[in-house]
Symmetry: C2
Subunit: 332 residues, 2 copies
DNA sequence: CCGATTTTTGCAACCGGTTGCAAATTGCCC
DNA sequence: GGGCAATTTGCAACCGGTTGCAAAAATCGG
């Protein structure tokens, strides 16, 4: 049904190898046969079958892109950047939606079946062990937005969540807030744990502060709103560092629903600096996470591993910085 | 390097065919050999190579998922539903990000090279001709959120945008608005054109109304905000039907920035009913687009075409309904 | 236990490409 | 034009599976 190598070879009057060679970079073909082949291919509308060739070359140019957060708008930005950057390098994203699944076994099997060249785990909530399962299956893998470690089991590209926690704490202290809250993402997410660690550490340096903390059940609007409503019912802090922007926006809506003002009554800050954080009716003060750099770094890393699969894994961190908008009172 | 059929066959002491057969549904193998093979496979950690088998079966179980809107949060919901529904059917989404590209040639070539079993074009802005290019290349294709036609060139699953325009017009009239605006998406998007058509048609029935219309340059927050700021500078209407929810939210922010109240000073309504429309600080009155049904319908359609590629294309439309929230004044 | 049927099995060809190798061709220089 | 090296070419085997077909084995009825 489809036009194959053989058809082109016949029409061009050459061997199948000749056709194959004209379509593979750096193979030895004379200008004359190349022209004949290209002509015939043009006539027949021939395009090489990428999967058939992968059988012998061992390269599919498929990259497994795994994520488990389809309810956080920043992931749309992340998918956008990932898919475009992969496409620019001639790689194809095979998307896996991991909602409600924490066992890597299925994903490993699936991506092995499709002989992907590499795997990108894009998630700040999945454990390092999840990513490690791909390495154990001998696939090149990068954990984007993953947890930092001195000697990680797999390549990690992301931010220093502990340092972000510190930065948030210092920011709130500098604004004169004394009763300070940490409204984290899910308690079992590595990012939440690390941020809380740094947050506590930096607050411990300053005397006379009251720190409270609690966790939303997910990185989502609803979870942030629900948790903030709960906090408001008791004795809320003066300002909260929220697990991320979408949680902040949920919290913001809760505060406004309660008839309180941000930042007049309660200060809020987030983390990510997603597009929406800059929207005029949100105007969230937040810590910018350089997702473009993280994604470019992740792809560079996975590409490098294609040639050298045994590169020793390391963590690559990019610096974050504060974006001042309107949800905290000004520095004193 | 990887464990193959041959390895399993050798260990199990059977032919390669026997191994192949134990892993293909409905093939004839005795219980005894099946057991032997499964044992050997278990020991070696064998999993069949999906791409190699696709070579003979002609089925890859890959589905090309094409989209061009990575700045509209509803597409995150759409990707979530698509990927999960595809996974549930054992299909794998190969994602193509079409940002800034309107020529289908590249996508067609790419998806042919990967022998995808089918293609889903998920976009309300791409033209029917775009989707048709896949059909011309003899691939099963469904245009989700595409334009209705009596006898379309490809299967279309979506909503009746003309009827949505009518519904919006009737809603605004019923609220007593007299000076009514249409703040559409990009003027060249088929969805925009159809909605305006229905909107005008329904308003033409009611006498004494003033209708104005303009277009945002994209379905995005910034575009909606910019366009509404422009409108506010002159002589704005009493209420606007916006191209979609994210445009509405941009418009909402513009109105609020101008110190005006919604719905007190200006009424707004959207279309889609994305998650965010229900957020407490947005609370957008909007027309619900049944994306889950559209997506399930699209996948059912593409699956049906796998068996019968020559099914005559038709448009499948799902009804929309109004979701009343807080951005329009109550009916009079 | 026999012969007829049904089920299971292995052989071999094939899917659409790639690639090592040896033979054929080309180009170059004298 | 001849000799030699460099380039190009086709053959054939292979990548990891599937499948039609005929032979072998199992099942069944009598």
């Amino acid at each position: 049904m489809n036009v194959t190598l053989k058809d082109v070879a016949k029409l061009a009057g050459v061997s199948r190898s000749a056709v194959s060679r004209t379509f593979t970079e750096g193979a030895s073909v004379s200008a004359k046969t190349r022209r004949k082949v290209e002509e015939a291919a043009e006539v027949l509308g021939y395009h090489p079958n990428a999967l058939a060739s992968s059988l012998t070359t061992g390269r599919t140019k498929l990259i497994g892109l795994i994520s488990n957060n389809f309810h956080n708008p920043i992931f749309l930005e992340i998918f956008d950047l990932f898919t475009r950057a992969l496409q620019n390098r001639g790689l194809r994203p095979l998307l896996i939606n991991l909602t409600d699944e924490t066992d890597p076994a299925n994903s490993v099997r699936l991506l092995r079946q499709y002989s992907v060249d590499g795997v990108i785990v894009a998630s700040s909530t999945l454990s390092p062990e999840f990513a490690k399962a791909f390495r154990d299956a001998r696939m090149p893998v990068v954990h984007s937005f993953g947890r930092f470690a001195e000697r990680p089991d797999v390549h990690v590209v992301g931010i220093d969540n502990v340092e972000c926690g510190r930065m948030a704490a210092r920011t709130l202290v500098a604004r004169g807030y004394r009763r300070i809250g940490f409204l984290g993402g899910p308690a079992d997410a590595t990012s939440t744990q690390d941020r809380l660690l740094g947050f506590r550490e930096a607050l411990a340096e300053a005397p006379g502060l009251a720190l409270s903390h609690s966790f939303a059940r997910a990185y989502s609007f609803d979870a942030g709103r629900a948790e903030m409503l709960r906090l408001l019912a008791a004795d809320p802090a003066e300002a909260y560092f929220c697990g991320d922007d979408v949680l902040s926006i949920g919290a913001l809506s809760a505060v406004q629903s309660a008839g309180l003002d941000v930042p007049g009554d309660i200060g809020l800050m987030g983390l990510n600096d997603m597009e929406m954080a800059g929207w005029a009716n949100i105007d969230l003060t937040t810590i910018h996470q350089p997702i473009r750099q993280i994604i470019d770094g992740s792809i560079a890393c996975v590409v490098a591993m294609l040639d050298d699969p045994d590169r020793v894994p390391e963590a690559q961190l990019f610096p974050c910085h504060l974006i001042e908008r309107g949800t905290l009172r000004p520095p004193i």
